[in-house]
């Protein structure tokens, strides 16, 4: 079911955990709240679930206002970071808990419980207790327990943070596939950018209880609306700008060091006056470019080279401007401190941001 949040605010004592949040999640959409710890993302999730009452604002599920509905009457399912399985119940009883609360017939409870366990490939462990399972298995049980009640909304609170890196990647794909197959509207809370990007249809980046930007993963990465978003979703070069001019159908930015850089025009980049920054992703810098091959081309001095396996990271100096470049290691092999290279990037790869 679709979810809408309007003007949500939540305080804890003097601390404003959520400072006015609006968002809309479409039916069947996988939506992620992404942000550093303490940005209010978990609080928003808990208000949606009904664990915390909202101080202000409305929560609507499928068009119905559920802001005042008690937690047990919302038909949402929550998956916790620590799984929160009932330690005194077997795997099957954990999964059947929500069905028993709905007072279903014994046969139906058995059938649907079995189905849910098959769905997460744990059919053989039904009689075990949670403390007899591995972390990944426990997370699967909690997923089955959540899905078996056919929730209108699936809420995932950092569900993969307690798993090791390989398992995390595996579960990521598994959850995404299940979500698509069942078509259940899902809200994920995470601080892990890769997790957010890999799983979500759309992502909202939060800071200090506010949504800074909402968009598809590629939009956030390639067109960040602010310096915070640019830095949060990935490494970026930030260049302080002294002036921005419109030239033809593009923009010409001048650094404080006097370097002129061509930038493709985007809505909102020409608001002059305020201090501005140019952001360029390290992997968008190309080395050994020929004259005229890229919109921008400069002579640079290699200052430092760090080999990272598939990619090589290097620090370049263009006059007094320092840029980090990430290049394939086949190209990186030709680099060494002191080498002079031609560096270039296209006008589309630069994004101008303003201090607010």
């Amino acid at each position: 079911m679709s979810l809408e949040i309007e003007g949500l605010e939540k305080h804890f004592g003097d601390v404003r955990a959520v400072a006015g949040v609006d968002l809309a999640v479409g039916h069947g959409e996988f939506f992620t709240l992404l942000g550093p710890s303490g940005c209010g993302k978990t609080t928003i999730l808990r208000v949606i679930a009904g664990i915390y009452p909202a101080d202000r604002g409305r929560v609507r599920l499928g068009g119905v206002d559920v802001t005042e509905a008690p937690i047990h009457a919302r038909n949402m399912a929550l998956v916790f970071q620590n799984y929160a399985l009932f330690p005194h119940l077997t795997v099957f009883e954990n999964v059947a808990f929500g069905l028993r609360m709905r007072r279903l017939a014994r046969e139906e409870i058995r059938r649907r419980g079995r189905e849910a366990l098959e769905l997460v490939r744990l059919g053989t462990l039904a009689e075990r207790y949670p403390d007899q399972l591995s972390g990944g298995q426990q997370q699967r049980v909690s997923l089955a327990r959540a899905l078996v009640i056919r929730p209108d909304l699936l809420l995932l609170d950092e569900p993969l943070s307690n798993l090791d890196a390989r398992l995390r990647e595996e579960m990521r794909g598994e959850i995404r596939e299940l979500q698509r197959r069942l078509g259940v509207t899902t809200v994920l809370v995470t601080h892990d950018i890769q997790e957010a990007f890999a799983m979500s249809d759309r992502v909202a980046v939060l800071e200090a209880g506010r949504i800074l930007q909402t968009g598809r993963p590629a939009e956030l990465y390639l067109s960040p609306a602010s310096r915070f978003v640019a830095n949060f979703v990935g490494p970026t070069n930030e260049v302080a700008l002294a002036a921005i001019r419109t030239v033809g159908d593009g923009t010409l930015a001048t650094t404080s060091g006097g370097l002129a850089i061509k930038v493709a025009a985007r809505p909102g980049t020409d608001a002059g006056g305020k201090a501005a920054w140019l952001m360029i992703r390290p992997e968008n810098l190309r080395l050994f470019v020929a004259e005229g091959e890229t919109d921008n081309r400069y002579e640079a001095l290699v200052e430092d080279v760090v080999y990272l396996g598939a990619a090589t990271s290097c620090r370049l100096a263009i006059g007094d401007l320092r840029l980090m470049a990430a290049v394939p290691s086949t190209i990186g092999a030709r680099l060494a401190p002191g080498v002079r290279v031609a560096v270039g990037w296209s006008a589309e790869d630069g994004v101008i941001g303003h201090d607010r």
Binding site: H72, A77, A84, H88, T90, F97, G98, R145
Partner: protein, 283 residues
């Protein structure tokens, strides 16, 4: 170091051996001999003292002791849950102070406490005069020199033995479990019944075992607030040992109370364990 470990245990072991095990052993030995005007007849062994315990008078006293102890434990169990969960919800800094309030009855001498209760409970005591003054009752309620008085005094007196383990268990409960149950459709009473209660039951039982044992062996409260009309086993043991100076029969009463209390505690724990386990595996 490992070998020297028992040295640390030694002081307490000595104290227990001389102050507890030896006297208990003595009472046990005495209980198998006859009391004569010349003293304890250590020359002959007999089970006559234990045969006397089957006397209907003694049986009724044991029954009363058991009844009072069970009622006090039951009331305590019911009252301790709301108190424990109320305290857990307070700020961590405040919690120890409230715990102290509930522990404080235990810090007052039981004799002083019992006399304090008698000021409140007697016919012309605070409670009866107040109720009469308000016109709620015509004649004074019999609140002491009966089982009621003993129960009223023992509930607060031994409350902490259940509250402390329950409080510890309640603070250790993962709040996510409660929320998980809630989102899955469980209203608050179902959460209590299906999650909170089973997970805190072992601590409750541990507390109740101590509480029950303390109730069975309480002396001052039954002596002062129960009197001769509501005698308990410990009061009987006092009378036989120190008023009649019949140590062999007194020893038999003491050993009998010990064995009976242990039997009740053991079977109670057994039952609770089975209940918890059957709760775990219910299909």
């Amino acid at each position: 170091m490992e070998r020297a470990g028992w040295l640390f245990v030694l002081p307490l072991a000595l104290v227990l051996a001389t102050g507890y095990v030896w006297p208990l052993f003595q009472a046990g030995v005495n209980s198998f001999h006859l009391n004569t005007p010349e003293g304890i007849d250590l020359g002959h062994w007999t089970d006559a003292n234990y045969a006397k315990l089957l006397d209907p008078l003694y049986q009724s006293i044991l029954e009363r002791t058991l009844r009072i102890s069970l009622i006090v434990s039951a009331i305590t169990a019911v009252l301790a849950y709301p108190v424990a969960f109320f305290i857990v919800r307070l700020k961590p800094k405040v919690q120890p102070w409230l715990i102290l309030v509930y522990v404080s009855p235990w810090l007052v001498n039981t004799v002083v406490k019992s006399f304090g209760w008698s000021l409140l409970l007697r016919s012309n005591g605070v409670i009866n005069t107040t109720l009469q003054h308000l016109g709620l009752i015509d004649a004074p309620l019999h609140l002491m020199l009966n089982e009621t008085g003993v129960i009223i005094a023992l509930v607060p007196g031994h409350f902490m033995f259940v509250l402390l383990p329950l409080w510890a268990a309640a603070s250790g409960l993962d709040p996510n479990l409660k929320w998980a149950a809630g989102t899955l459709g469980a209203p608050p009473w179902q959460i209590f019944l299906r999650v909170t209660l089973p997970l805190t039951l072992p601590s409750l039982i541990a507390g109740l075992v101590i509480n029950f044992t303390m109730n069975m062996t309480a002396f001052a409260a039954p002596a002062i607030l129960g009197g001769v009309r509501a005698r308990t086993v410990s009061f009987l043991a006092f009378q036989v040992n120190l008023e009649q100076l019949n140590w062999p029969l007194g020893g038999a009463i003491a050993v009998g109370l010990l064995v009976f209390t242990l039997a009740v505690v053991w079977s109670g724990q057994r039952l609770a364990f089975l209940a918890v386990r059957s709760g775990r595996t219910r299909p």
